[in-house]
């Protein structure tokens, strides 16, 4: 048989069985589509941001030394500034065509007349700035005119459209210096895609006065080069003119790169998370493909025997199956790459609905994307089909003469059992060691090993467990269905390897669901418990957008009646030198002494309140242990932007919990002595306690007082817990959504197995119909078989996942995840849900079985 013949046979087989291949192809398609979709989507986002940053940056941007890449320091509620003289200095440099001072601040919140936040809900910033010529590079005014004077503001077109803003509408900009009320004088649209930032512009004087707190100040200077002067050259010239180390200088490329790095790291995280889930889908797909080829080879045993009998060698048979797999992988991947682009466009539209604008003009399909998709799809398919292909190669020519397939191999079963038990044992030991570990690093390693080995162990041992577990499940679930139930049970047990592999696909997804839900609810339970134990404050005021608490909001809260006290919580940057000489760069928690009532910290030494004495500080137990710090020792603290001073350690807090773990407390009064007022950060959180017996009245009053500052959430302890729960719940839902892909592929696997089983059992079905099994009973039999397989997979998966989750909790107990909470409603819900998954998967196979003609079925061979 020549290579050409091998190819021809494979191709004919592939085409002849295209129906049976379809589901496997869909599995490949979905996984490849997810990978390619992710790549296209993140590439497109990158293109969008590149374009945006590319056009918005001046040739060279001059900004204050301390300015972060994000051009802002939200902690203080105002950005770092340059003096007005900087603009003139820069303008004098050689090769400068124009130098224009600019103001931009991200420490603002913009609300409309109804106190609704105009900012993005997708995490994009709200930006306020001065309208300048530099803006005209990337924007054009679509209606009205630029703002003039303190009562006019211009807004970007996307925000105006989203919130139905029109010329003349009033916007209130909440800035560090107070609220700025201004009417919309114009609307400007980006000429490139703006992914979602809300932007308002004032005239320069207003921007300086209101955003920076003084006339003549700028946050940056936009410098454009004369013709023939490169950005790099211009940067050097400017450096020469103003002094090399006075300001931060960035060429257009450097600004864009810095901006992109900010966005890029977020995009990378997203990309890897999504690719991780695509990987899981691939893993599940492997089972489906493996099963398909196993069944095809089993059905074709006689045919293969005939080929062997007439002279094909085993290598050729193997090759023909591999080529078939290659064709499957090719078709699935090609379609998958196409579907991936569609998926990316869909994702962009979805983001658009959520307020993040991405244009399909920017759709970026890098040449690597289809290559990655095709290679992944084909390699995974071929690898999955390899074991069945080898089995096909081993079919003896005698098989052509034998009636049925070869009988099951008992010895293989025993080898499989011992291998599975050993692997599961190793995995179990790993999990045990992880749970018992007292070092997080070692524990995580054991956890990874444990998870990996128990998973592989379960997959290997699955077919053997099938006998036991399916019988048990059938005893409970199928009993009410009498003989039809018994037939379903026998069918599920008939080929344990197939049942095992089908269920394993479902097991993987559900194990992850169970594990994460256990960790998630343990997180909520642990945090709630800690909150109940430690938090004494009645209300917590915090920003939802990362904005610090502006003075006007703090004043509003302090002016509220029925409050016993209000505590401001600030975080100050400092260098801390311990008596042993070690230096730590870190944050110091600067609070009012009332904080000791708001949060009851467990103390190792000293009183919490003592930390707020003049010139005192407290440290966490981890730090104290590491650097042998005792109460009474002195730490040298260099406040960033302020002075250096010794502070006496007055208390040591326990670092057992998660709340304020490792925090060093200093009173506001102490910090104010060593930090100039304009370097003092704004609080990021306010805590308040109601006066005795006034909790209800105060809650309403506090909410009312802050109603005009929608960027802050006012929460009592119940709200706070709920928010925590919601946040974890949202995160879990997202993860479940992504795992949904793996579960869909697993469901395809169940459909596939059932469909092929129905074909295999055509004659049996015919016989049963002839002797009186009704269509309904037949369909029910197939559905029940499917349900049992699904429940089997769910049971293994949930059990395995709960084991993983419990181990992870034990390990994370070191990090304060003290409470193990098994979310039984979720677990039971998923278990019951998988029965529905089974029913759903059986729909089509059962329908097709029911439609079989009795006579054809009996006569089929």
């Amino acid at each position: 048989m020549s290579a050409g013949t091998v190819l021809k046979t494979s191709r004919r087989n592939f085409v002849a069985h295209k129906g049976r291949m379809a589901l496997s192809a869909v599995a490949v398609l979905l996984s490849v589509a997810f990978v390619c979709g992710t790549l296209v989507f993140t590439d497109t986002m990158n293109t969008t941001f590149d374009k945006l940053f590319g056009v918005t940056s001046a040739d060279v941007t001059v900004s204050a030394k301390g300015a972060k890449d994000a051009e802002d320091n939200p902690n203080r509620g105002r950005p770092e500034v340059l003096p007005a003289s900087a603009v003139e200095q820069v303008a004098k440099a050689e090769g400068v065509k124009s130098a224009e001072g600019g103001v931009v601040s991200m420490s603002v919140t913009v609300v409309n007349a109804k106190n609704e936040n105009m900012g993005s809900t997708t995490g994009a910033p709200t930006i306020a700035g001065n309208w300048s010529d530099n803006e005209l590079k990337s924007m054009k005014i679509t209606s009205g005119r630029p703002p003039r004077g303190p009562t006019e503001v211009m807004v970007d077109a996307d925000t105006a459209k989203k919130h139905h803003l029109e010329l003349g509408d009033e916007l209130r900009t909440i800035a560090i210096t107070g609220d700025v009320r201004a009417r919309i004088s114009g609307i400007a649209a980006f000429t490139v895609t703006n992914p979602g930032a809300a932007i308002v512009y004032f005239d320069t004087a207003t921007a300086q006065e209101k955003l920076l707190g003084g006339p003549g100040l700028f946050t940056h200077v936009n410098v454009d080069a004369k013709d023939g002067v490169s950005d790099e050259q211009l940067k050097q010239n400017v450096a020469k003119a103003v002094g090399a180390d006075t300001y931060k200088l960035q060429t257009a490329k450097e600004s864009a790169d810095a901006n992109r790095k900010d966005v890029g790291s977020f995009l990378d995280v997203m990309k890897y998370v999504m690719l991780g889930f695509a990987g899981i889908a691939f893993l599940v797909g492997i089972f489906l493909i493996f099963n398909t080829f196993s069944m095809l080879v089993a059905q074709r045993t006689r045919e293969i025997g005939l080929m062997r009998a007439i002279g094909a060698d085993s290598g050729q048979v193997l090759k023909s199956v591999i080529v078939e797999a290659f064709l499957l992988g090719l078709v699935g991947s090609v379609l998958g790459v196409g579907a991936g682009v569609g998926l990316a466009v869909g994702l962009m539209q979805l983001m658009g609905q959520m307020g993040m604008h991405l244009s399909t003009d920017d759709l970026t399909v890098a040449w690597t994307t289809p290559v990655v998709g095709l290679v992944l799809g084909i390699v995974v398919t071929v690898v999955s089909a390899f074991i069945p292909a080898r089995r096909a190669g081993k079919v003896s020519p005698m098989a052509a003469l034998r009636d049925a397939g070869t009988p099951g191999d008992r010895k293989a079963g025993r080898i499989r059992a011992s291998l599975g038990l050993v692997l599961t044992g190793i995995g179990g030991a790993g999990l045990f060691l992880a749970a018992a570990a007292d070092k997080a690093a070692a524990g995580s390693l054991w956890l990874c090993l444990g998870v990996l080995f128990t998973l592989i162990g379960f997959i290997v041992i699955g077919p053997l467990l099938a006998g036991l577990v399916v019988r048990m499940l059938s005893g409970i679930v199928l009993r009410p269905f009498g003989s039809v139930g018994r037939l379903a049970e026998r069918n599920a047990l008939r080929n344990p390897r197939r049942t095992g592999a089908t269920a394993a696909a479902l097991m993987i997804g559900l194990a992850l669901v169970a594990c994460l839900s256990v960790v998630g609810s343990s997180m909520v339970a642990s945090a709630t418990e800690e909150l109940d134990k430690t938090v004494g404050a009645d209300y917590i005021v915090q920003s939802q957008t990362g904005q610090p608490i502006m003075p006007q909001a703090e004043q509003a809260l302090r002016a509220t009646g029925n409050l016993a006290h209000v505590t401001a919580y600030r975080e100050v940057e400092a260098k801390i030198t311990a008596p042993d000489g070690s230096v730590k760069d870190g944050g110091i928690s600067v609070t009012d002494p009332t904080y000791a009532q708001d949060v009851r910290r467990k103390m190792i030494a000293g009183e919490h309140a003592a930390a707020y004495g003049d010139g005192a500080i407290s440290v966490g137990s981890l730090y104290a242990d590491e650097h042998h710090v005792k109460v009474g020792d002195e730490l040298t603290v260099a406040f960033t932007g302020g002075r250096t001073t010794p502070l006496k350690v007055a208390a040591i807090t326990s670092d057992e919990g998660n709340l304020d773990k490792g925090a060093m407390y200093v009173s506001t009064a102490t910090a104010e002595r060593f930090l100039p007022a304009d370097r003092m950060p704004r609080p990021f959180m306010l805590l308040a306690k109601a006066a005795e017996g006034k909790a209800d009245a105060a809650y309403g009053a506090v909410k009312d007082a802050l109603a005009q500052y929608p960027q802050y959430a006012v929460q009592n302890r119940a709200d706070y817990k709920q928010t925590l729960k919601d946040q974890v719940g949202q995160l879990l839902n997202m993860v479940y959504g992504l795992l949904g892909l793996a579960i869909i592929v697993a469901v395809l696997g169940v459909v596939n197995t059932l469909a092929l089983s129905v074909v295999e059992r055509t004659r049996e079905i015919g016989l049963m119909r002839a002797i009186g099994l009704s269509r309904r009973q037949l369909r029910r039999m197939i559905r029940l078989e499917s349900v049992v397989i699904a429940l089997f997979g769910a049971l293994l998966g949930l059990g395995l996942g709960m084991g993983w989750g419990a181990t992870a909790q034990q390990l994370l107990a070191l990090q304060g995840l003290k409470v193990l909470e098994i979310p039984w409603p979720t677990i039971i819900g998923v278990f019951a849900g998988s029965a529905f998954v089974g029913l759903f998967a059986a729909l089509v196979p059962a329908f097709r079985a029911g439609r079989m003609n009795v006579l054809d079925a009996i006569a089929s061979e």
Partner: protein, 262 residues
């Protein structure tokens, strides 16, 4: 199933209805126009209760089609078929399935048993499907009659071909059907095993009063019947009572010769 009916069925041929199945002007045609093929051409036949009837004919004569139509496995193009007092032509699939389950027994040439069930489970399957409890006494008698007492827990793969067919016979008898249809029930067996199975069928007619219709092309098998119906080109061309193997063989040769000359 009421006791009254059971008695009617097994009370011998003296009942008010001596015909178990009746076909009138049954036509079965495939295709239309020029490609129309007629498998059964206005067939009239009465199957007598408590008799062992064999249907014979050369391949393509329509004998299997006739049996399939009589048994409610296949639909007819025109004509009527009554099973006992029920007209089965025109019944919906659901009713037809119920009828097969409750009133008809089947023995096929091969693949009679579900591989996942043991012998006993296979025997009681039609009743299990119907949700009826088998009559223990009757079941014992059937099992003894076919000589399977020691093999009830065996799976089909652990039984010989002859034993498998005996299980199929037992299954057909166990539900006390009004009529049993056999489609070449001994076609896959060697002559000894075949004789054994045919012997059981004969005895179930003689001793249990069962009605059996069997399609076969084997004159020896046909000789076990009370009556042989000969089919050729979709028509009944002859019949023979109290047949012998030689007699049937002669008649068959006769048809062959006539077929060739016509």
């Amino acid at each position: 199933m009421t006791t009254a009916m059971t008695e009617t069925r097994h009370g011998g041929t003296g009942g008010h209805e001596a015909v178990a199945a009746r076909a009138r002007k049954v036509v079965k045609a495939y295709g239309a126009g020029e490609t129309r093929v007629v498998a059964l051409d206005e067939v009239d036949v009465d199957i007598r209760r408590g008799q062992f009837t064999a249907i014979m004919g050369p391949s393509g004569s329509g004998k299997s089609t006739l049996m399939h139509c009589l048994a409610g496995l296949d639909t007819v193009t025109s004509g009527q078929i009554h099973l006992d007092d029920v007209e089965i032509t025109g019944l919906k699939d659901k009713k037809l399935t119920q009828l097969r389950r409750d009133r008809i027994g089947f023995i096929f040439q091969a693949f009679n048993l579900l591989p996942t069930l043991n012998a006993l489970e296979n025997i009681t399957l039609p009743m299990d499907i119907a949700g009826r409890k088998p009559d223990a006494q009757w079941l014992n008698r059937v099992v003894e009659t076919v000589g399977l007492a020691g093999r009830l827990k065996h799976r089909p793969t652990e039984l010989s071909g002859g034993q498998q067919q005996r299980v199929a016979v037992a299954r057909a008898l166990a539900a006390r059907p009004q009529i049993i249809f056999g489609d070449e029930p001994t076609g896959n067996l060697d002559s000894r095993a075949g004789a054994e199975v045919l012997g059981f069928l004969r005895r179930s007619v003689d001793e249990l009063g069962q009605t059996i219709v069997m399609v076969t092309h084997d004159p020896v098998a046909a000789s076990y019947a009370d009556r042989v119906i000969f089919l050729a080109d979709g028509r009944i061309v002859d019949e023979m009572y109290g047949p012998t193997a030689d007699g049937v063989l002669d008649r068959m040769k006769d048809f062959d010769a006539r077929g060739r000359t016509s």
